[in-house]
């Protein structure tokens, strides 16, 4: 049972401010993922919540109790580290029991908790092993087990999957989702992998340069990114951004062709278009309306394929193409947009333009989705 509340939390290292007044509310039982490019401050924010770094300004509350100056071991928070950080001189049992001992439980209660966690993570046969006798995946499970035995209010996970190989990674990802369902608890998870973020999160916090860019469900972030940064950060291949001139329904690149699209009324003059690969189509018909482009290469992934094309202004754009269509390099093509699937941003601030037209953007998106099926 834990809600977290950050109020204007900031962090300075000497003269450099790395987190600028973070405001964030996290609900009980919520699975929150912090994502962002490296150096955006997501790990630092996690360490502030853990208490491993002192908070320079603002307040951190857990269940309305001020935790800003409470030492880490007394915050009722457990953390899973990127390197697992198991104690190399202790066996698995001791690693899991060490942190529990501070809670003032009896020996039997501690023993019960360790065995409960070990059972949940299939660690029971390994309890007498030392960390160096374990595989990477097993170490990872011990690190998670160590957090579980504490029965903390909040779990913090700092890129917990980044040291695992790809096959194990998706397996442990499912495991973490299952654990969250089983044991509940509020979880905060830091990653730079947007697949982890999209699949695990109830709520994603996108960070950039020490600020929160947007907070929302995976669907909200994908469908209505608050700005161009979030638009390009969430979704793979990346959303293409081009600045085009609007005339009515036409958006044209200077000497690069034009596309037609419905747009919000406040998109006037120059507009930044955000085009995801599935919002675009290619045609070889050079007389057709559309952005002029040249193919560069094609990524064939079996059930899907992406053509990368260079627009007249030099921008590279990823376009979802039917996997059975084959594009060679340097083919002149036209890029067309699916109406209703484009995003419009202010070219100066990068902020989403949303006023004055489509009253319900979600409704519009769903309509398009249905039309595609």
């Amino acid at each position: 049972m834990a809600t977290l509340s950050l109020d204007k939390v900031s962090k300075r290292f000497g003269e450099t401010e790395v987190l600028h007044g973070i405001d964030l509310e996290i609900a009980d039982q919520e699975f929150v993922v912090f994502v962002g490019p490296s150096g955006c401050g997501k790990s630092t924010l996690l360490r502030l919540i853990a208490g491993l770094e002192p908070i320079s300004g603002g307040t951190l509350r857990v269940n309305d109790a001020d935790m800003t100056r409470v030492p880490p071991a007394r915050r009722d928070i457990a953390m899973v580290f990127q390197s697992y950080a198991l104690y190399p001189h202790m066996d698995v049992y001791e690693n899991m029991a060490f942190g529990v001992r501070i809670l003032g439980l009896t020996k039997d209660e501690i023993d019960g908790r360790v065995h409960e966690a070990a059972r949940m993570l299939q660690l029971e046969p390994l309890l007498k092993r030392k960390p160096r006798e374990l595989s990477g995946g097993q170490r990872q499970r011990v690190a998670i087990g160590r957090a579980i035995t504490r029965k903390p209010k909040v779990f913090l996970l700092d890129e917990p999957l980044s040291n695992l190989d790809a096959a194990l990674r998706s397996q442990v990802r499912l495991e973490i989702a299952r654990l969250h369902r089983e044991i509940g608890g509020t979880m905060i998870y830091v990653t730079h992998d947007q697949i982890e973020a999209m699949t695990l999160a109830d709520k994603i916090v996108v960070m950039n340069e020490g600020r929160i860019e947007q907070v929302g469900s995976p669907r909200e972030l994908y469908e209505t990114p608050a700005n161009a940064f979030v638009g390009t950060f969430i979704g793979s291949p990346k959303m293409t951004l081009v600045t085009a001139r609007r005339e009515g329904r036409r958006f044209s690149l200077s000497d690069g062709g034009a596309i037609e699209a419905d747009a919000p009324a406040d998109a006037k003059g120059d507009v930044m278009l955000g085009m995801r690969p599935d919002a675009l189509t290619l045609t070889r018909d050079r007389t057709a309306e559309g952005f002029e482009a040249e193919t560069v290469y094609t990524e064939y992934l079996g059930n899907e394929a992406y053509a990368y094309v260079r627009l007249a202004d030099g921008t590279m754009a990823a376009v979802a193409v039917p996997p059975n269509e084959d594009y060679g390099p340097d083919e002149p093509v036209r890029v067309q947009a699916r109406s209703g699937m484009l995003h419009f941003f202010d070219p100066e601030s990068g902020r989403r333009l949303r006023h004055g037209s489509l009253a319900d953007e979600r409704g519009d998106f769903n309509r398009v989705e249905q039309a595609r099926r």
Binding site: A50, P71, P72, M79, F81, S83, H89, F98, I102
Partner: protein, 306 residues
């Protein structure tokens, strides 16, 4: 024969290995072996006498007055070792921890603590002899200046304080060494393990005892073994500060001085006794080698790969 062919590579390796092996043989192996040989003979001054087999060993261990002198010196070595383990290594550990935690001024102190280590023992010995001078020495003058006149002692001149004073000088001289070794060990502990420990425990002492200390076991092995060897080989500092007789009245006598005095003579009794001296040297060497060997094996078992 194929196996014996001389190759360029082989020559190179030989060129690199032969000189150090020769030096080692000449200055380490040869003296040890000759000392062992000398110990089995009766000596008259520098003249080799009869082969007496273990008689010299029996003399220094069991025959008076040698036996008392040996016991006296050996007990002093044990005191030196015990006090250095606690004072020099204990304080060294605390200093290392303070430097590691980056307490204010850590950069300055990192250098300052290690500075005495680079001083020659001769210099340290003479300077501290001046400091301990009962009349104008720094130690007593400071004590008098802060009103502790009754604590002002002739530190090196009385049996009750001389050995203690020497040990403290040694600790002052070498404190930077255990500090440096411990600090290096602490710096090898991954940051995330310390973070995990801070999430698990809020008592600094508990983290120090349960996490830091076990993880710097390799440093402790080095420090303990070198302290042991150094304590039982202790010679220069007592020689300079207390003289070859371990004055006053043998209260600072240690195996190193006793051996030197026996083998090469002292000012008052100019006799040289290579036989008993060599026996002492051999016994000391065997004692150090055997104990250090077993102890190293034992300490190694605590060590954990990070």
């Amino acid at each position: 024969m194929f196996g014996m062919r001389i190759t360029r590579r082989g020559l190179w390796i030989a060129c690199l290995i032969v000189p150090p092996v020769l030096v080692l043989a000449l200055f380490t192996v040869y003296p040890i072996v000759t000392a062992l040989g000398y110990a089995f003979f009766d000596w008259n001054g520098a003249a080799q006498g009869d082969f007496v087999f273990l008689q010299n060993f029996r003399d220094v261990l069991f025959r008076e007055p040698f036996a008392t002198w040996t016991r006296n010196a050996f007990l002093h070595n044990i005191v030196v070792f015990a006090v250095l383990m606690v004072v020099q290594n204990g304080i060294g550990f605390l200093i290392a921890y303070a430097l590691w935690r980056n307490l204010p001024g850590a950069r300055f102190h990192r250098v300052a603590v290690f500075l005495p280590v680079v001083l020659s023992t001769i210099i340290v010995g003479f300077v501290w002899k001046l400091f301990f001078n009962p009349l104008f020495g720094l130690v007593n003058q400071t004590l008098r200046a802060i009103g502790l006149d009754m604590l002002a002692q002739p530190w090196l001149g009385q049996s009750s304080t001389a050995l203690g004073a020497l040990i403290l000088v040694n600790a002052w001289h070498w404190i930077g060494f255990p500090s440096l070794i411990y600090l290096a060990g602490m710096q090898r502990i991954p940051g995330e393990i310390m973070d995990a420990a801070r999430m698990d425990r809020d008592s600094e002492l508990s983290i120090l005892r349960r996490i830091v200390w076990p993880l710097i076991a390799p440093s402790a092995t080095i420090v303990f073994i070198l302290t042991f060897i150094g304590s039982f080989n202790w010679f220069e500092l007592p020689y300079i500060m207390a003289g070859v007789d371990g004055s006053p009245y043998g209260s600072t006598d240690v195996l190193g001085l006793y051996f030197y005095r026996t083998a090469f003579g002292n000012q008052s009794a100019g006799t040289q006794d290579f036989g008993h001296g060599s026996a002492l040297a051999v016994i000391t060497f065997l004692f150090i080698a055997v104990v250090a060997g077993f102890w190293t094996v034992h300490l190694r078992k605590r060590e954990i790969e990070l």
